[in-house]
């Protein structure tokens, strides 16, 4: 506690950065389609942390984004819910058609 003194915006940004990187590595390494989706959720949360930190009047009484940061964080949450719904529908469709959730075997389109 004494190590970091009073919490500043930078610490929130650091937590958001770590969550973002964890999600990105999760997206890159997981072979399960649902694991990739979970990585996307982590990435969106890391980004949301930045909006909350910059919009917080508790952390920065002067020069904060104010309500704008929280509003954009709300939009991100709603869009993440929409993304999860569509991606899960695609995953279930893929599983029904190919009997697997391994993204390495989803190469039929050969983009």
């Amino acid at each position: 506690m004494l190590l970091i003194g009073t919490v500043s915006v930078s610490w929130y940004l650091a937590v958001g950065a770590v969550l973002f990187v964890l999600g990105a590595v999760c997206m890159a390494t997981k072979r399960n389609l649902l694991g990739v989706l979970m990585g996307v959720e982590l990435v969106l949360n890391g980004a949301n942390m930045n909006f909350i930190a910059f919009g917080s009047k508790v952390l920065r009484p002067e020069g904060s984004l104010g309500l704008d940061g929280q509003l954009i964080a709300l939009f991100v949450i709603v869009l993440a819910a929409a993304e999860a719904a569509v991606a899960l529908a695609i995953a279930l469709n893929f599983y029904n058609n190919h009997n697997t959730v391994d993204v390495d075997r989803a190469n039929e389109l050969n983009g």
Partner: protein, 246 residues
């Protein structure tokens, strides 16, 4: 909150370290766990700790929405997806070693850049006084709701033009997001519906086409064979003709 603050001045730091450690720790759990069911559970805990950090930063409404929409809605959806697809071979899936190495290099360098940026600005690094009672007493939900309907009550007192331009509100994005969510849910329900009937007819029609193709092919083969047989028979019957032909 005041009582705790008086009794123990470090409560903010303590809860920040607690929530940050659980969020990052269970994030690592999501990344390192091979079992997809455990990954989903760790993700729930990580997102819940993130909601705690939102509460701590003074964004109570967003924190509550994080708990309700993410942990209550999206995660239930994900867990249903896991349950529907978690067959024997897909519960535990190993990652290739070269993928791990590459992702660690790329992720580590990305983390270095992001942390350098986070601690680079002196303005962000210096903590500001958080014991301001007026700041802590502000209620967020009502101004947020009004901003979503296009009315900004939080920037009315500002005198500078740059801030006053932010009065415009978020009605248009709100409507766009609403329609987007509606379209997306209809599309998801359409895509994820059970297709047993159409599957059966598809199978039947494709099977019928295959049969037809095979029959035609067999007919062609038969014709060819017949031709060969009659040709041979002809040449056998009158060898002179066949010799002439050759």
């Amino acid at each position: 909150m005041d009582l705790i603050a008086v009794a123990w001045p470090y409560w903010h730091q303590f809860f920040f370290v607690l929530f940050a450690a659980t969020a990052i720790g269970f994030g690592f759990g999501v990344l390192l766990s091979k079992n997809v069911v455990r990954m989903a559970f760790y993700l729930v805990l990580s997102l819940g700790s993130t909601a705690g950090l939102f509460f701590l930063a003074g964004a109570e409404f967003v924190g509550a929405m994080q708990l309700m929409i993410y942990v209550g809605g999206t995660m239930v959806l994900l867990i249903f997806g896991v349950m529907l697809t978690a067959q024997k071979d897909f519960i535990n899936m190993d990652t290739h070693t070269q993928d791990w190495i590459l992702a660690t290099i790329v992720g580590g360098s990305l983390l270095m850049v992001l942390l350098f940026g986070a601690f680079g600005s002196e303005d962000w690094k210096t903590p500001q006084d958080i014991t301001d009672a007026e700041v802590q007493a502000t209620k967020e939900a009502t101004p947020l709701g009004l901003a979503l309907t296009g009315i900004r009550v939080d920037t009315l007192g500002e005198s500078t033009d740059a801030v006053a331009e932010g009065k415009s509100g978020y009605l248009m994005p709100f409507i766009i997001v609403s329609i987007h969510l509606l379209v997306v849910l209809i599309g998801a329900a359409y895509m994820a519906r059970t297709k047993k009937l159409s599957h059966a007819t598809d199978d039947k029609s494709s099977r019928a086409k295959l049969m037809l193709f095979k029959m035609e092919h067999e007919e062609e083969q038969l014709e060819e064979e017949q031709y060969v047989v009659t040709h041979r028979a002809k040449s056998a019957l009158n060898p002179l003709d066949s010799e002439n032909e050759d």
